[in-house]
Structures are given as C-alpha cells and as structure tokens.
C-alpha cells in the first residue's frame, strides 16, 4: 500500500473521548505513542443512526475472535464501516466493553474533576455516553465496542486472559472507511488492565486520503464473506459516484 496524502493529524491524551465524522475513502490511522494504549471505538451510520457497529456479526462473518489486518468491521445491516488495511499489533479485542465509574474508583481510586481538573480519572462507559449524547444517542445505543491495541486471549475452558504490554511504542492500526461513518472513541484504560496506577496512554490519529480499493485488496479477499460485504456497500452507494471500483 502506498502512503497517501496526510490530511489531518491530532493527538488524544489518555483517559479522553472524542468523536469524528469520517468520510468514505479516507483512512484513520491510530498510533500508540508510548505503548500500552487502549482506543475504544463505536461506529454509526450518520444517515441512519440505527445502523451501528455489530461485534457479533463482525466476528462470525469472518470466523474470528480477534481483529487484525484483513478484517472488516461490519454494521448490523451487512455493510462494512471500515477495513483494517494495516496493523502492526496483530490482535485487537471487541468483547470486553468498558470501564465504569465504579470500576475505575475501585481499581485506581476516585479522581474527580473538582480536585484533579483535567487529570481526573474518566471511565469508558461515561465517555461513550457523552459522545453518543452529542448525536441524540444514549445507553440503549451503546453496542459492544472495539478495544484497539488490547489483547484478551481465551483458553480451552473459555477463561479470559488479558495480555499486558501487548502494544509497543509506535505500533499502529489503520482503518479504511468504506462508507461515511460517525466514529465515537475514547482512550480510557481497558477494563481488564491490571496496572496499579490509572494508565493514561496517549495516541496520535492521522486521517489520509485512502488508496483506491483494488481487486487484490487484502480485506476484500481475506474471506468470501467480505467480498459480499463490499457488494452490499456498493449497492448502498449506487448512483453516488466515485465508487465504481468495488
């Protein structure tokens, strides 16, 4: 894949939240600055907010428990929000959800805004609630999210094991957006992170003009299911111009 023009770059501190309207045909690269970052993400269709990221469909359509290069992130309507076109980490998890206020207080102590100003300990659940509310959405709309840079293994008995120090400094994952998407994200710690101090891990994110999807595209070809997913996106964009490649 050739490096495309960088359109925008920004830094997000650890323990923060933000949301973006990402356009079809652009890519979003997340870069773990120090190692050990966690970027939780949810995806919605801005044209129809009832269409949202569906972790079960994403996993079962690709017979995978982890997410990495070649995987597509599906909506509940059989369409692909984005494809993972590059990944130096190899495993991102999408079933463990978020920290809550209670969980953060129990694990790391309560650091409220009054005392600690913007060094307060934010939690993932409330971070998503705040971003969702900006678009008229609420807790009923909060689906299972992706936790980029975080790995949770499962043994034969089904037991979960959080893998510490999974993501290294400068590791990155790049998402190519296959339709216009509202991206909600936060950088609060993974709920299974056993660190003794509240992990506050910053990231960079970069937006680029994505290279065109070609016939030999790794995400298009990684599974026959994904070829059909791309066909669903093609149907969705019929008559919309610049989508003739797929």
């Amino acid at each position: 894949m050739t490096e495309s023009e960088l359109l925008y770059t920004d830094r997000l501190s650890g323990g923060c939240h933000w949301s973006l309207h990402v356009r079809r045909g652009t890519s979003l690269r997340l870069i773990d600055i120090e190692g050990g970052a966690n970027v939780a993400m949810l995806f919605y269709n801005p044209e129809n907010l009832l269409e949202r990221y569906n972790a079960p469909d994403t996993l079962k359509c690709q017979h995978t428990f982890k997410l990495t290069t070649g995987n597509c992130l599906y909506s509940d309507m059989g369409r692909i929000f984005c494809s993972i076109v590059a990944d130096t980490v190899g495993w991102h998890e999408t079933v463990c959800g978020n920290t809550t206020k209670t969980m953060v207080a129990k694990k790391w102590g309560e650091h409220n805004y009054q005392q600690h100003r913007n060094e307060w300990y934010q939690n993932g659940y409330n971070s998503f609630l705040v971003e969702l509310a900006k678009y008229g959405l609420g807790k009923r709309d909060m689906a299972a999210n992706v936790n980029f840079f975080s790995k949770v293994e499962v043994n034969d008995e089904g037991n979960l094991q959080y893998v510490a120090d999974h993501s290294k400094p400068d590791d990155y994952v790049e998402l190519r957006f296959e339709m216009d998407t509202l991206v909600m994200m936060h950088t609060c710690p993974h709920p299974l992170n056993p660190a003794s101090d509240y992990p506050r891990k910053p990231i960079w994110y970069e937006i680029r003009q994505a290279a065109e999807v070609t016939g030999d595209d790794i995400c298009l070809n990684s599974r026959p299911e994904n070829a059909r997913g791309f066909q669903n996106n093609h149907l969705y964009h019929l008559g919309h111009g610049d989508c003739e490649h797929d």
């Binding site: 009832l50 996993l59 017979h63 428990f65 009923r140 979960l160 669903n232």
Partner: protein, 212 residues
C-alpha cells in the same frame, strides 16, 4: 457445568411451546424461575433480557463475560446488565455451555455469511422486529435489539483467536434454567436458520416453562 433442576414440569405456572421461527416475549417476575427446553435437540434459542420496569437496562454480553472472566455461559453464570446489575442467574443447565459471542442471524448478515439470494430467508432479527412492533407497550424498537445469548449453541474460541461454529452439543430434552433477580422481559427468537449447523439444519420447537 452440568447441573440438574429439581423443578417438576407439572408444577410450572406457565408453559408455552415456541415453534422455530416464532418469538416469545413475556415478563418473568423477580424470584420466578424460567426454563428453556430444547425439545428435539440441536436448537438455538436466541435470547435477550430487559429490566421490565426500564428496558433501557438490558442484558450485556460484554459485562457478563468480563465479570465472570469466561466467554461461555453455564450454571452459576450471573447475567449482568449494562448497568452492572445481576438480572438473572443460570441455576440449572443440562447442556453445559451456551454462546454469547455469535449474536443472532439477520437477513442482512445472511447476505454476507451465505449468499445474496438467501436474503429473504427467515432470520432471528426479523422475529425480534415483529416482537417489538407487536408489543409496543414495552416501548422498544430496533435500538433495543442488542448482543444476545444463543442458548444451546456451541461457538468455541481457539487459542489463536479463531471462532468456530461447532455442531450443537445440545440434545432432545436438554434445558437451561434461570432465576430472575429482577422483573425481566424475556425475548426469545427460536432460531429459523437453515444455513448453518446451529440448528442441525433442522429448526425445531422449544418450550418455555415458568415456576414461582
């Protein structure tokens, strides 16, 4: 974990047969026990739970598996809501393992999983769409249809991070039983899927029994 129930079917206060392709949407009160019975074997019962007094509180697969530290559901599993509360506990299970990763079938995801010409084949989400439409007194809509449990379904995760759809480990007469810790709406789609082994390619009826 296999754990048998002491409850007798003749003592149940309600019994309802749910054919494949139909839904079940009823309130089970706190303290009551609900059994889902796989009558003929290898049937998937796609199930969601809501707080009957405030359906914005609902079963959360992520909170449930994270808090118990295990991806499979069985006897002893506490089903946790998105608010962190225990909604129900699995008190008996003769199957031994139930899935909550694979979600439900939908006509749209069927186009991806199988083929575009299968898009009009019946699917669990269509049953749920009809359920929320026909039961508007609960005030629910598509946004409430979330990440469910697949009772009787076997979806093993591999150490390498793969997800496999194994043949059902259920059989005729196997059941799972849950005690409600709050008043809950039980919403089941008795799965009509004909394209994968979750039903042994032969969707069959289930029975739902309730005890006080």
């Amino acid at each position: 974990m296999i754990k048998r129930s002491q409850l007798q079917a003749e003592d149940a206060v309600a019994r309802e047969l749910v054919p494949a392709g139909d839904y079940y949407m009823k309130v089970v009160k706190a303290g009551q026990t609900v059994r889902i019975l796989d009558l003929e074997g290898n049937q998937a019962a796609d199930t969601l739970f809501y707080n009957a007094n405030d359906p914005s509180e609902r079963y959360s697969a992520m909170d449930t598996i994270r808090e118990q530290g295990n991806v499979y559901l069985t006897a002893g599993t506490k089903l946790i809501s998105n608010e962190g509360n225990v909604m129900l506990e699995i008190v008996a299970d003769t199957c031994g393992r139930h899935d909550t990763l694979g979600g439900a079938c939908a006509t749209e995801s069927n186009t991806v999983r199988y083929a575009h010409d299968k898009k009009c084949m019946h699917a669990c989400r269509d049953s749920w769409m009809l359920a929320v439409a026909e039961n508007d007194h609960f005030g629910m809509s598509k946004r409430d249809i979330t990440h469910n449990i697949n009772f009787f379904m076997n979806v093993p995760v591999t150490a390498e991070g793969g997800l496999t759809f194994a043949d059902g480990i259920s059989a005729a007469g196997k059941y799972v039983e849950l005690r409600a810790e709050m008043d809950v709406i039980v919403l089941i789609s008795n799965c009509p899927q004909l394209n994968n082994p979750c039903n042994g390619y032969n969707p069959t009826p289930i029975e739902v029994l309730i005890w006080n």
